[in-house]
């Protein structure tokens, strides 16, 4: 059965978005995936943005009406090597008692206080069993309870135990499950409730691993790939949302790995997914210059997942490399693009 396109006035989720004033960046965004991190601080009416330029990353603080308030550049910690190490990702991790900023590079993993002012932890990558043709790097960052999980080039996921305060961070576990470089990690924002599965890791082969966190993480399900990387992944109420290199978004039941929805969403590789968990909105962005917003829901009778398309936005001539919602209701989002020295913002009218 093919239903008619449900865009238009009869679709309650459909909205129009308008461009807001862009936020200028000191350096253009690098052509990486998941190249925008947003920390919403509604209590202080502030939003933090983090973008990777290459060997440096830029952090910005932004208040809605005014100009950017604060700006900081971070560099990857140097180590042995020929050229300045490139940063692969920058991401804020919200833990129960603190927020840390994590920076992954071709040398290792750095953790900072949330404003980037003080580095509290450094973990150098062990390139021991890498062959000369393999690139060594860390990539994929997520907070899970009081842990921070970071992926690596080998497929191993490092689990760091974070104390409520101070620098006594300890590598507590290394998760095996992947054989190819990790691309992204996502944790369920509503964990601790009914959800058994509360973390999903993705890699360059498209393989997804679903985990249950704890003093020891347990692998629950493996969802095989199909020949393309999975650069970005999200987890919402037991549903895995995965974006792939062939432009598809797929939704799976986390506990069983069953495929429930397949969206031919984009014409090029997907570079970012984000979630507005309170309203079940999913955002997908790709190198085809488009950003799409989807509404996820679980139909009570069939216990399966349903999706409807809410909005599509074309960012002209921009190879998008990062996109995030900027508020919990999903009514605004921000986008970065390769070679673009600004963060583009959109909010619904």
């Amino acid at each position: 059965m093919v239903a008619a396109d449900s865009e238009g006035s009869k679709d309650p989720g459909a909205r129009m978005f308008r461009r807001e004033r862009s936020i200028p960046l000191r350096g253009s965004a690098a052509a990486l995936c998941n190249n925008l991190s947003v920390l919403q601080l509604p209590v202080r009416n502030l939003t933090h943005f983090g973008v990777v330029h290459g060997p440096s990353a830029q952090l910005l603080s932004f208040a809605p009406e005014g100009l950017p308030l604060a700006q900081r550049q971070l560099h990857a910690k140097e180590g042995a090597g020929v050229s300045p190490p490139l940063i692969t990702q920058v991401h804020w991790c919200v833990l129960p008692f603190r927020v840390l900023l994590v920076l992954t590079s071709h040398r290792g993993i750095q953790m900072f206080e949330s404003d980037g002012s003080i580095m509290v932890y450094w973990h150098a990558l062990d390139s021991g069993d890498a062959s000369p043709v393999q690139a060594v790097f860390a990539r994929g960052i997520a907070a899970s309870g009081h842990f921070i999980c970071v992926g690596t080039w080998s497929g191993r996921v490092l689990v760091f135990d974070i104390p409520a305060k101070g620098p006594n961070i300890v590598l507590s576990e290394e998760l095996a499950g992947h054989q190819t470089p990790i691309t992204d990690i996502a944790t369920d924002p509503a964990q601790g409730q009914d959800c058994v599965a509360d973390m999903v890791t993705a890699d360059d082969s498209g393989l997804l691993c679903v985990w249950r966190s704890g003093p020891e993480f347990k692998l629950l399900t493996r969802i095989p790939g199909f020949g393309v990387p999975c650069p970005s992944v999200q987890l919402w109420q037991g549903t895995v949302a995965a974006g792939y290199g062939n432009g598809q978004v797929r939704l799976y039941e986390a506990s069983t790995g069953t495929l429930h929805v397949q969206i031919n969403a984009h014409a090029r590789a997907i570079c970012a997914l984000d979630l507005a968990p309170e309203v079940g909105k999913l955002l997908s962005a790709a190198e085809d210059t488009f950003v799409h917003i989807w509404k996820l829901s679980r139909s009570p009778e069939s216990v399966s997942i349903e999706v409807e398309h809410c909005h599509g936005e074309c960012v002209p001539d921009t190879q998008v490399c990062g996109a995030r919602f900027c508020d919990p209701s999903g009514s605004s989002f921000a986008v970065t693009g390769y070679d673009l020295a600004e963060i583009l913002r959109f909010s619904s009218m």
Partner: protein, 379 residues
């Protein structure tokens, strides 16, 4: 980033260089046999086995400036002579063209098809020389061995590495502006229509399945673009229809090769800032150049009178003007060298990076431990 990027970068930029030189040779009405000699000499130097061996070693990419030296040397491996202004313009055109090709590749793996397009065209340029044709075919073989088995993820990393190399490059090229491939601000136009990449579905469909895997609902949505299915996959064989047009020769005698220097912009300012800081990598870059150029066997012309100057501009006056008006921030002069501590090293490097002559003086045998810089200068 990926350590397998250099061969692709070098071969594609080299291919663009040959397209441009071929166009200029015809525009300047250089006699056929001389023109052929130029191209043959450059191609045989480029595809020299020892040079290829160095190139294919897993290594990180060096700076644009270091790479430019290699092409400077390559161009002068033939009987042509290029002034600084013409060499600058040549390199600008090469880099913008390849940046465009990488950006436009539908799949990351398609950069290999772009490389094959360049190789196919190179073979066309030197089709009268079976020995050189053989060299190119051998390189083709090597490319297939190294890249044929790489995964989509590894190609994605290669693509990202190339795009980082070309980040913030916004030089405007006449042909691109005319064809509306580039906007007036130097950014490339990214069309939202045409065939999707091989392996991608046309966007616009949502398919929902039940827990048994049966499709229960299909919904269409308006995705905003105007895409069609991919007709077929390009061939990765030695001979075949590549399907992709990226990497084929876009120049002809009637389409001149002009560039516009973008005015000082924010992006350029940030790029200049980075290069003004002291560069601790100068030594590593020199070693890289020495290894690479050491593998390059340059032929000395038997008759010094055979050398002639090639102009990338329409007239001599234009060339002079271009040299005078090239914006500071786009200069390929090694700004950072003045800041390095080692005075002798920086002098040597400045000499190499700038215009240099190939001397006919025979080189004294030098052990590996000798000054690498001196070795390079005598090649």
């Amino acid at each position: 980033m990926s350590v397998r990027t250099l061969p692709l970068l070098f071969l594609n930029l080299g291919g663009e260089m040959l397209y441009i030189l071929d166009q200029r040779l015809r525009a300047q009405n250089v006699p056929g046999d001389k023109a052929r000699k130029v191209l043959n000499d450059i191609v045989s130097t480029m595809f020299n086995r020892k040079f290829m061996e160095e190139l294919f070693k897993p290594q990180e990419l060096y700076s644009k400036k270091a790479l430019r030296t290699v092409y400077d040397r390559l161009a002068h491996a033939s009987i042509i002579r290029l002034n600084q202004a013409s060499m600058d313009k040549l390199y600008d055109l090469m880099t913008v063209a390849f940046k465009y090709q990488v950006l436009m590749c539908p799949r990351p793996k398609d950069v290999l098809l772009v490389t094959f397009n360049h190789l196919d065209a190179i073979k066309g340029l030197i089709r009268d020389s079976p020995a050189i044709l053989n060299q190119v075919d051998e390189t083709f073989q090597q490319l297939t061995e190294v890249y044929g088995g790489l995964s989509a993820g590894e190609f994605q990393l290669i693509r990202q590495t190339l795009l980082i190399f070309f980040q913030d490059l916004h030089i405007r090229v006449s042909i691109f502006l005319k064809d509306r491939v580039q906007n007036s601000n130097g950014r490339f136009v990214l069309p939202v229509s045409g065939p999707v990449p091989w392996g991608t579905e046309v966007p616009g469909l949502i398919r929902m399945f039940n827990s048994k895997g049966e499709e229960v609902k299909t919904v269409e949505f308006k995705h905003g673009g105007n895409y069609v299915a991919a007709p077929k996959e390009g061939s990765f064989e030695l001979y075949g229809d590549r399907v992709l047009k990226l990497g084929t020769n876009m120049y002809s005698v009637n389409r001149p090769v002009e560039t516009h220097m973008s005015g000082a912009s924010k992006n350029l300012a940030s790029q200049t800032q980075e290069s003004i800081a002291p560069n601790p990598l100068a030594k590593e870059e020199l070693n890289f150049l020495a290894r690479l150029l050491g593998g390059m066997e340059t032929k000395k012309p038997s008759d010094p009178e055979a050398r002639f100057r090639l102009n990338l501009f329409a007239t001599e006056e234009e060339e002079e003007q271009a040299a005078l008006t090239r914006p500071e921030e786009l200069s390929y002069e090694v700004i950072n060298i003045q800041a390095t501590q080692d005075q002798q090293r920086s002098e040597e490097l400045a000499r190499i990076m700038g215009e240099f002559e190939i001397t006919d003086a025979p080189r004294q045998s030098a052990s590996k431990g000798d000054d690498l810089l001196a070795m390079m200068d005598e090649l």
